[in-house]
């Protein structure tokens, strides 16, 4: 092993793993105080759940010997035959496999049963996440061979989780009081903490995806920083114009939108390209979170608006801005753009259909949703018998 590359990938693995707690706080701050622990628990528990699944079979299904570019096998059951750089790669990838289902929790906040979520995440990880990761990142995967680009997970992580969130939301239905009551974040400082951790961890996510401490890692880190910043600027500018107020939640949301959109592009773009992608994502996602009000689906914390829409935005913009890899604006013609469009649609359709099926089956069998009384009283006390804050003792 090259110790410098190993040092960077060890570090990047730790950073990406840290993103899931970060996501927990990002989401946790946005729910009402009666549901904060349920939100945190769903995210933390995802780590505990996906880790063994990935070791046992998830990794092998994604990166094992390919069956027709569609899915791996069980040759690496229990991380068999992995050592050194390969084992480190499996570790690094594990952290991606963990955060992806965790992203979904935001959409179904404040009403999805904890047990149902645990089942959903487990099944989904094996039958949706691993195949898509195989398509995109396994050298024999069909998307990989097709020549489309996804540097650090626009397709595999964000579009995949975002459209699954949409499917789940459609099965689950809206929260009581959605569209009528003011359902406001209970602690924006907690959300900002999550944002800070996500931002930090995202350097591991994107710059780590170079798989070495090399020039591409540097390029990716610079693009990541620019994407996040311009995303925040774009979103805040858009909301300031529309509502008259720049908000902290807007800055946080815009930064995440920018990070999402830069993810598939980070290793391939110039600083100027990163700026364009960031600011477009910030504005587009600000507009997209308004869609739920128009169409009436209750995507509680805007996973669709930010991760799905931001992921699609980034995935397509790669076709324009990839300075290495054949972007349209860099003389590569439309071929990359077309490929990006095709694979985006493919992941969209596959993940939506599969996620919808899993959700329907779980709904019929164990039920996805808490009882109305539990929703009113809050999930913390009714599902976990705990209270988030007791500040007067």
């Amino acid at each position: 092993m090259n110790s410098g590359n190993a040092a960077w990938l060890l570090m990047a693995s730790a950073m990406v793993l840290f993103m899931t707690p970060g996501l927990a706080f990002f989401y946790g701050g946005m729910v009402r105080s009666k549901n904060v622990l349920n939100m945190l628990m769903k995210n933390f528990f995802t780590i505990a759940l996906i880790t063994p699944l990935w070791v046992i079979g998830g990794y092998s299904l994604a990166f094992g010997e390919s069956s027709g570019g569609l899915i791996g096998d069980f040759s690496h059951f229990m991380f068999r035959d992995l050592a050194g750089d390969d084992l480190l790669f499996a570790m690094f990838q594990m952290t991606f496999a963990i955060i992806t289902p965790a992203l979904i929790t935001g959409a179904v906040a404040e009403r999805l049963k904890f047990s149902a979520y645990a089942w959903f995440a487990s099944i989904w990880s094996l039958v949706v996440y691993s195949p898509v990761a195989h398509w995109v990142w396994n050298a024999d995967g069909w998307i990989y061979k097709f020549g489309a680009l996804d540097f650090a997970g626009g397709l595999v992580v964000h579009i995949n989780a975002g459209v699954a969130a949409l499917a789940l939301v459609l099965v689950l239905g809206p929260r009581l009081g959605f569209g009528r009551d003011a359902i406001r974040p209970h602690s924006l400082p907690l959300t900002l903490l999550g944002t800070g951790i996500l931002w930090f961890g995202w350097f591991g996510f994107n710059a780590g995806s170079a798989l070495a401490a090399n020039e591409q890692a540097v390029t990716a880190m610079v693009a990541t920083q620019i994407g996040a910043s311009l995303g925040a600027l774009g979103w805040v500018a858009a909301e300031w114009k529309k509502t008259g107020y720049p908000t902290t939640l807007g800055a946080a949301s815009g930064a995440v939108a920018g990070l999402v959109a830069i993810t598939p592009a980070a290793g391939f773009v110039t600083p100027g390209g990163a700026m364009a992608i960031g600011v477009i994502a910030g504005i587009v996602c600000f507009w997209a979170v308004g869609l739920k009000a128009r169409f009436g689906y209750d995507d509680s914390l805007d996973v669709v608006g930010v991760h799905l829409v931001g992921g699609i935005t980034g995935s397509l913009l790669v076709g324009l801005f990839a300075s290495t890899g054949g972007g349209l604006f860099y003389g590569g013609g439309v071929s990359l753009l077309v490929k990006q469009l095709v694979v985006t649609m493919a992941v969209l359709v596959f993940s939506f259909v599969m996620s919808y099926l899993i959700a329907r089956i779980l709904d019929k069998t164990m039920g996805l949703r808490v009882e109305e009384r539990q929703e009113v009283e809050g999930l913390d006390i009714t599902l976990h018998e705990e209270r988030g804050y007791i500040l007067n003792e």
């Binding site: 003011a182 529309k242 600000f286």
Partner: protein, 112 residues
């Protein structure tokens, strides 16, 4: 004896406390309430969605006083809590049958 209850703007509390101390009040209890009234609330905006919040933060003061001090106490609150702007709040005077000081068991005006 009377219980004087006042709903005031939170930032006037220090002034009200000083005014009450000046007219001889030696004890009071305060708490946070959310008031609804002519002073309309405010809007809040989260991810582009605007929410109307009707309730405004107010401070409630409860003071037990003996009968001859009531009007001085009410006047002291009026004077110190008034900013002249909408939302300055209300004072209510409630009759009391009895007051007890827990530590000593004293009753009536002595308990104040």
């Amino acid at each position: 004896m009377k219980l004087v209850i006042a709903f005031i703007k939170p930032h006037t509390l220090d002034a009200v406390k000083d005014a009450l101390t000046e007219v001889g009040v030696t004890g009071m209890s305060t708490s946070e309430v959310r008031g609804f009234g002519r002073q309309s609330g405010h809007t809040e905006v989260y991810r582009g969605a605007e929410y109307k919040v009707d309730f405004v933060a107010k401070t409630r003061i409860d003071v037990m006083v003996d009968d001859q001090h009531v009007s001085a106490v009410v006047a002291a609150i009026e004077g110190s809590a008034r900013t002249g702007e909408i939302g300055d709040g209300k004072i209510a005077v409630v009759p009391l049958d009895e007051v007890v000081r827990i530590r000593t068991g004293e009753r009536g005006p002595d308990a104040l």
